[in-house]
Symmetry: C2
Subunit: 785 residues, 2 copies
Amino acid sequence: MKRFIICAIAAATMLAGCSKPESKEDLTRYVDPLIGTAGMGHTFPGACVPFGGVQVSPDTDTIPHNVGGTYQPEVYSLCAGYRYTDSTIVGFSHTHLSGTGHSDLGDVLLMPTSGNLQLNPGTAWHPEGGYRSRFSHETEQAMPGYYAVTLKDYGIRAEMTATTRTARHRYTFPRDGERHIVADLSHGIYNYEGKTLWASVRMQSDNLLTGYRITQGWARERYTYFAIRFSRPVRDYGYRESVTSAYNGFWRKLPVSRNFPEMAGRGIVCWFDFDWDSEGGSDANTLEVEVALSSTSVEGALKNLAAEQDGRTFEQIADAARADWNAELGKLRAEGTTDQLRMLYTSLYHTMINPSVYSDVDGAYRGLDGAVHHSDGDNYTVFSLWDTYRAEHPLLLLMHPDRARDIVVSMLDHQAQSAHGLLPIWSLMANEGWCMSGYHAVSVLSDAVGAGLQLDGSRVLDAMTSTATVPYLEGLGSYIEKGFVPLETSGTGASTTLEYAYDDWSIYRAAEILGRKDIAGTYRARALNYRNLFDGSSPFARARYADGSWKIPSDPRQTYGEGFIEGNSYNFSFHVPHDVDGLMDLMGGEKQFLSILDTLFNLPLAPEYYADNEDIEESCLIGGYVHGNEPSHHIPYLFQWTSEPWRTAYWIREIMEKMYVPQRDGLGGNDDCGQMSAWYIFSALGFYPVCPGSGEFVLGAPYLPEMSITLDGGRTLTVKAPEVSSRNRYVKAVRLNGKPYTRRYLTRQDILRGGVLEFDMADTPAPASAPEAADLPYSLSRAAD
Amino acid sequence: MKRFIICAIAAATMLAGCSKPESKEDLTRYVDPLIGTAGMGHTFPGACVPFGGVQVSPDTDTIPHNVGGTYQPEVYSLCAGYRYTDSTIVGFSHTHLSGTGHSDLGDVLLMPTSGNLQLNPGTAWHPEGGYRSRFSHETEQAMPGYYAVTLKDYGIRAEMTATTRTARHRYTFPRDGERHIVADLSHGIYNYEGKTLWASVRMQSDNLLTGYRITQGWARERYTYFAIRFSRPVRDYGYRESVTSAYNGFWRKLPVSRNFPEMAGRGIVCWFDFDWDSEGGSDANTLEVEVALSSTSVEGALKNLAAEQDGRTFEQIADAARADWNAELGKLRAEGTTDQLRMLYTSLYHTMINPSVYSDVDGAYRGLDGAVHHSDGDNYTVFSLWDTYRAEHPLLLLMHPDRARDIVVSMLDHQAQSAHGLLPIWSLMANEGWCMSGYHAVSVLSDAVGAGLQLDGSRVLDAMTSTATVPYLEGLGSYIEKGFVPLETSGTGASTTLEYAYDDWSIYRAAEILGRKDIAGTYRARALNYRNLFDGSSPFARARYADGSWKIPSDPRQTYGEGFIEGNSYNFSFHVPHDVDGLMDLMGGEKQFLSILDTLFNLPLAPEYYADNEDIEESCLIGGYVHGNEPSHHIPYLFQWTSEPWRTAYWIREIMEKMYVPQRDGLGGNDDCGQMSAWYIFSALGFYPVCPGSGEFVLGAPYLPEMSITLDGGRTLTVKAPEVSSRNRYVKAVRLNGKPYTRRYLTRQDILRGGVLEFDMADTPAPASAPEAADLPYSLSRAAD
């Protein structure tokens, strides 16, 4: 409950003031990268630029995970490398995932130290035993593109900023004593002995080093090349092996450990001492470090270093990063209290970290096949698609159509490079991460086709159908044969069936737009497979066995063993975003549908249903509704298909106020590469893409008195709700460009056309009213074939 | 002594017949790749083309070496993967070193099996427990470019042939039973758990697989990419992990072990079953396998596969390989007994295996810096320079000047890619192997400069001087400072000093030719550093300590602990090939010099001086002369600087008859990438490059009645000695093109000009006679500055 106490304080401070940022205002001041760094958020506080491939950030612990497949809870809480409640910093590494529930990365850890040289990280409970340092949050400064902290044990001020493919560090040492830089190439997030398959470092000159490491982990085999330039010449250097390599020929006879310009092994920790009488710092105690990464080669890293550091000062790079963020944040203007604006802009910030640019400045990138490829645009990676197809990708498509196209092309390239002919499921730096279920890239592609992005239509359809027919992909063969994924084939066969059915609808939709009736027919039929989980006796989806029999008994509130991934049937049964009408029929009509929705939000889920589930905590629950697990995200919008649409406005506001608090531990679930944040942005605007690919955004209710988004080409959509407040949360009437608007959704065209969308708000719900069919959002059962 | 019994029999059979091959004759029939596969030779029997990068050959054991740096004797005897005395074959791998004393490689092992599938190699003492098979030498056929054997346990006939970058296998299975191909990517020569850092295999289609492995070992970090095409479609396939990977994300939840087109891990053993009703074999029971390797990429391997297999039949490839060998072997014509010709042509064959082509068909290759580079000519690797600078490289320069130039360029490129600015010492596939001492690449470069190869002179000198000034290279800093390598700095400081001094002479010589008097002066002075090991009280070189004091006592016959690598002071004191006159003075004049030489050859070395030295066996000794260790190779020619030159002829013939017997165990030492064989070729011709870089070849005595070599441009040098025999081993008179020839050496020009070199032979030595100074071979002390 700790978090809710903080919430209450936060809610109180929200009343303090209300402001509307000026158009030239520095909006980054509303972004607090520390939001979500405690509790469930799993965000990191470090520096990056929008969609940058380098995220330089402090890592506060390294769990030496005991190999053997046992999943350590500590790993879960350290997905982003940083845990607000930790009191030591191990060092600053250059790659971090934003808000995930599983972990990897933490590449190329640098740590400045003073005093005796130590080459092991030490432990949180005995930091003196290693190179890590204690720190106090009071010394931390985290803002878009800049992070700083004082390393208490050493008295070193560490500052860092970033470009797309590089980082710049500035370390200010105390006046006296030994000064070292440690570069730990065996460090990693989700670390364990053997994670680093090989690491290699070369001194190219007295201030330039290059190298790479190959790691195993969640990304099965990952290559990180780097180039590091120090602002002062290295005077002495060396390394120790943290993991002993097997026999390595005659190297052991060489004087390799000190001032030998090739350092390599299974796990190496390098150190560097400098010539402090040289030029190379803003003052006598300052050292700067430029770090470039590349997936392709040392040459690629050197190109990235040259292109993006480009002789600029630390301040110039930090200013450019802030300017980049301001340009992106400035696409959204809003009026609200400081805390509301902090939550809004921090959310917007979090939608622009992943996906991340993966290609070098010249377009070279490592493909899923391990080979180096070239892309015309930027190649992107980190696609947490089970999460992000819902709102993150629709938001990118609206606000960053050029990037959205590069992202879709990156997915198509991934498919072309896949041994399975599969589109990405969880794309993780030239690796398929195989995390979660479905093949939701088809949703992103379909939405892009619907939005009219310039794409090769037959390539898109080939990639979609190739993906949707890989028989060994989690029960897909059985699904194609039987219309559902049997429990024997997959322990989460029920939720997977629901996900496949929506994905198949996406393919149907794209095929229809692209004029391929044959494909459309096949996948329209498959889109109805969700029906195969409803047995007619219960309103809830239920798992089935291969012989067609049902899992009996089954408990719709239970999150374990019932065939549903990260959730229960109570939530997952609503996962039919493409055919809400059809679902409502299966559930027994509107009254029953409303009753189940109502119960979902109101009846608390007893702890025995989720206690061992790391993704669910009591603080994340609203009744039995689990906002932290994405399958629920569209559910509060489903009231819009009923005669009680006001309930959407009610629950949206509840969720926004309870699950998004501008505090360290304020996020009610993993941010999941921006999906949670994208949900917030859409919901704050007053509409949400319940069914990506439909081209529709279902109305909710605006959160703030005024918001506007500037779209590609400069058009602006302004959403006004002057009377809105937590109390005045209900929508009385809507006008688009002055005209009454009765439809319960906006189309993409409505948004892109720009203009003013006005909401009249009230403190009481409008009376129930049966909707006009023409005003209802899309449903496959209602749509013309 | 076992080998010497075989010798005696061999000597008897030599008398059986004498023949001179016709010019169209298939000379490959004189080549027996099995010579040297027992005992010390460390040659392999498999198939390759001249200087080919692929050597496909049976491996008869894999020692699971216990990690920790302990050197296992079993590893030594299995350097080439094959040991004639073994009775099982593990499989056929694609890379092998020829005649080395240390080991690595054995990449991409294939093994056809029948019956129950087994995925571990089994053991020599219990072959039924694994996929290996017993075999009988009676079923073996080994010839240049072709190897075949019957796998007894399976009744499978395995045949293989090669191109420069690919191999072709043909497996004929018994009529009935299960048939499998095993591909073991954890197999290796000098194997141990963890040698394979990562291996990855992809099914690209139903008969094409691609992949790579990254290994550690003698080559610290080596990349082997491959493409494998089967002549029949794969029906089923899978793998097991022989070394468990650490956590690999969600892969473990996937059905990866069978028919899943991505197989990867720390150690994987794959299996393939085929559709035998398909087309794709010369008969119903035959499967062919094409295998291409590349150091750069899967794409490189596919290019190599396409270019070199090129739709040809097995016979076409094997015929082309034989034709290539015939073209190269045909440069040497000789008259002799069948056994003499077998030894001669097998030796010539062994001079053309290493160095090996390392670049792809398009010139791409992996450089020492790990990056992919492109070469105009072929890039070469496997430079065992401590051995091969002596005779192998001089032979290449004479007989293969185009390749010799590519080899020199490969060395220069290696230097440019070195973190140390070092020329290769032991170049092993994009790795510096750091084996043995000196920087003898400078000798090869200097000899090439002297021969007038088209090279960038300043690049050559820069590479040489950069190499000769790396202070941390085995005592080089001290050597530069003090004129010798102290024992404290290197346990083999004495021999290293002698080697550096000769290498420095090479640099002096090249600098002189290239007109750089400054460099010449510096290195001429350094070339005299050998003098610093002679204390005036003893005729033997002796190790010194950093303070200048001498190692006392020191035993010139002891091979351990006296400061000499692979040898003793007795042999190594003669390692002053560039200044024999100067050495003779230091040793106390000609009489003492002759006396020491005489004792060296005549006084047996007691076992306690070498018993623990794996490179020396009693059978390799002639008195205290150790032919198997290269520092001795020029010693028998040193009599030519004295008044008793006939002793050269005597000992040369002794060495040739005792150390080179055309038997499995007939080689008196590791062939060392062709150095032992090149010594034989030169010595058989009657001259030897005692001091590479001098452009002189010191006369010995021809071994056969007639030999001729065809040189670049078609000119031929014929060496005639019609009366020569083991008895008539002494030279009475020499004529070059009909004119009496009194010089005790030939120049490179003499050889390249071609013509006829006639030797009158006798059964008694000519009386001692003081040489005319003008007739003596090169000596720095005598040469004009």
